[in-house]
Symmetry: C2
Subunit: 494 residues, 2 copies
């Protein structure tokens, strides 16, 4: 029996449900489906997809069509018998549906439809493990803010300021508190899917963390054996890979997971590659600060299945070096959080966080925000979500607005001799230059000799943009307000 | 004829003058002297010293006795004939005379008498090339400030904001503007010596820069041939090496001197080693920012004649790495300057400079200050001296006061697991920990279980120290004011 809609937008989810009875653990049974586009075939027109058991005797197969046209499908049981067949029309995407995010080049992302995508991320690691009312507040806060990516974990979090037991887990729990790792909990996943879709409606990519060390044996999800890991990944991928706004973060702070080896991560990446037909963005995030890169056994980000570099580092001045080193977009997914926790990773001023964002973005990278204030109600944003109370989100939104006002093709301009500060732009057309902690009384900006430019002086903290009088060409003296956190935006006049 | 005093303090200057007539260029003649301490001999009791021509038919030999006792000397002419003989009593040093600064270990300096010395430097590169009134103001400003080291050049400076022609040069000048590099100007050197002694009276070490690139062919001192370099160095060393507060900085930004090779620097170091009998501190200072150490051809600071590392770098967070790399004290002699010049090296806020000082010092290094404000009268401190108008010198003085209140043996404590922020101290006794841009509401400080500690909370900007109530032992929660630039000082009670 098929419940697929007969018409679906490109990059939306087709969900085919079938009923199937079999002896034993129903999660051990996985239907397989083939989706095929009418017409000439290429790699993206014929897809093998694994289904999953959704409880109550129902199995599902989910599919994200990447091409417009008429698709046929056939779902088969473990014995090869046809369980369902059907067809649907895939129609062009509409509204805010731009498809999944892809890597464009060594410093940039874009959506599948070509629209630029820029990560302005935040973190709520365990927000889906909080009470429903807190989750609602989180979504409301995200709706008011301007973030385009959220880092969040599948597994719950056992950590400082994170002691509460969640209501549900990814696996069935026995009365003695242990988990049946062969029996995922469909209700848990349905709730998770609902929130991934809620993020999608807000235009937020879900950077989903598949493993993390903040368990410490309390529930044991950080020390499952390879078979359980594989079973967990296949189930998660079968359920979630069809959601266009999902990214795979193989782990948060993988190097703090003593029970896992580099081989385990290679194997996990291979599983993700095998069971994600759409090749969503995939990365792995380190925990150490990489003060001394030579001595750190960092996961090899050169490997082809690592689509982009998801670093933890507190000094984004090195962004250009990282981009050059890996030739992939670099997202500093932890640079320290705005807050006042008694930990060095969670006690930064908003000024410092905003400076980090502007520095990284004008050097051609991205940064992820987090908020860690004590004593603000029942939740700390970085883990539980709830309310945003800090001063950086509004400034990050302003930065996003400035960057999105630039032409799509802006890229980092790495010529240090020409540009005496980090500069994003297009040579000859537009330059966004950021001075950071520097606060010159004026600067000589190197503009082309053959075009007139207008220049705006931007205060990144007050979020104001003030035109410098007149137009400029060639080396141009631009008077500046003399404080830190200033940027200039020069645009060629038409 | 000898004019040596019959009694001299240890590490003071003995000056023996002789008259000698010889045909040709009198600067080509160099008397030599031997100084010998009565009693059992060792390496420091018998010294060969080269003299110099001081004009008007007078030659001088200068000597710094490093040991108390009765010294005899004999000065010989180029033909070996005795020009002078004599003796003097070297008596113990008194007052603020602690002798020259030596390297104590891989992170620390001390004076020859064992007193701790800590570099809190500033820069007035060309202050001795300014009008006399400006030089007086410079000395007055240094007297009011709290710096213990001054970086300054022998040669004049031709650079942005440094266009004026100095009144005198190290060499005689022809009417056509060229210099006779075989004829130093004794009057120039006498003025220089006077200012080195003026610094000595203020307790300031003179970090004397022997070569620099800020000439660009205007006078040609940056492109003399090896013979002229050697002649210049021997004359300078013969005159100045007996001053206990002199350090040799072989060059400022040596890598910007296209006319010099690494071999030239090796040879210059060898000349300094040969003609400085006292082995004053010697270093060489880079110009590039070393963003990528692997790609930079940095002078090899491992070489034995480099007593300490004199870096230019803008990110002193790497201090521990540098100390470990070279096993020598590290002085960041340029980290950017407080000011508002239109250059990225001269436009930092005082807050940023003060943070850099505290960071470097608690990480076990040192930093040098500079000031580059536009529009403050006729001089910019960093090059010309004059007046200090910035906000960092008072805070640097406060840091010096805090550090000097600690026991002599404090050293950087590199155990990151125990100390969650840069810490200077002695395990079990005293800890000075700095949080920099971090501003936790409180921190858990790891104190020993077996001793009571008092804890002061220091605001590095307001220069206030507030005792935390009570005493502490073991892991201790210390409430903090929640702003950046905070340090804590924990001391064991007696």
């Amino acid at each position: 029996m098929s419940t697929a809609r007969t018409e679906v937008e490109q990059w939306d989810v087709v969900d085919v449900s079938v009923e199937l009875r079999s002896p034993g653990n129903p999660f051990d049974v996985r239907p397989r489906a083939e989706f095929r586009l009418d017409g000439p075939q290429d790699g993206r027109t014929r897809r093998q997809v694994e289904g999953f058991y959704d409880g109550d005797g129902v199995y599902r197969v989910r599919f994200m069509p990447e091409q417009v046209g008429r698709w046929c499908y056939r779902v088969a049981g473990p014995d090869g018998a046809t369980l369902a067949e059907g067809a649907f029309a895939c129609v062009p995407a509409s509204g805010d549906n731009h498809g999944p995010v892809r890597v464009r080049d060594a410093s940039r992302f874009r959506y599948a439809d070509g629209t630029p995508y820029r990560p302005f991320g935040t973190t709520c690691y365990a927000w889906t493990h909080q009470p429903a009312a807190t989750q609602e507040r989180t979504l409301a806060a995200l709706g008011d803010a301007s973030f385009t990516k959220l880092r969040m974990c599948v597994f719950p979090k056992n950590y400082a300021f994170n002691a509460a037991e969640p209501a549900r887990f990814p696996f069935e729990r026995h009365d003695d508190g242990t988990f049946d790792l062969t029996r995922p909990d469909p209700v848990f996943y349905r709730d998770l899917e609902e929130q991934i879709l809620a993020l999608q409606r807000l235009g937020i990519e879900c950077d989903l963390i598949l493993f993390h060390p903040y368990d410490k044996g309390r529930w044991g999800f950080d020390r499952m054996d390879p078979e359980a890991d594989e079973r967990y990944l296949r189930y998660t991928l079968a359920r979630l890979a069809a959601y266009r706004n999902v990214w795979w973060s193989l782990a948060n702070e993988y190097d703090f997971m003593r029970e896992k080896s580099m081989d385990d991560w290679d194997r996990a990446f291979a599983t993700v590659e095998r069971y994600d037909p759409y090749r969503h963005l995939a990365s792995i995030h380190n925990g150490t600060r990489m003060y001394d890169p030579a001595s750190l056994a960092l996961y090899d980000h050169h490997r082809p299945w690592v689509t982009h570099v998801s670093l933890q580092h507190w000094d984004v001045q090195q962004m250009r070096q990282w981009r050059t080193q890996w030739s992939k977009p670099v997202v500093v997914d932890e640079c320290g959080y705005e807050g006042d926790l008694p930990y060095r990773w969670g006690d930064l001023t908003a000024e410092s966080v905003v400076d980090t964002f502007w520095t990284a973005v004008t050097l051609g990278g991205s940064v992820t925000h987090g908020e860690t204030y004590l004593h603000h109600g029942d939740a700390i944003w970085w883990a539980q979500g709830g309310d945003l109370v800090g001063d950086s989100p509004a400034r990050i939104a302003y930065l996003r607005q400035v960057v999105e006002s630039l032409p799509d093709d802006v890229a980092p301009l790495d010529d240090d001799r020409r540009h005496s500060a980090p500069t994003l732009g297009i040579e000859g057309t537009v330059y966004l230059q950021y001075f950071g902690r520097h606060r010159p009384a004026y600067r000589i900006i190197e503009l082309p000799d053959d075009t007139d430019f207008t220049v705006d002086v931007i205060d990144t903290w007050t979020m104001t943009s003030t035109p410098a009088p007149g137009t400029y060409r060639g080396p141009s003296r631009i008077d500046l307000p003399g404080g830190p956190g200033i940027a200039v935006l020069a645009r060629a006049t038409e």
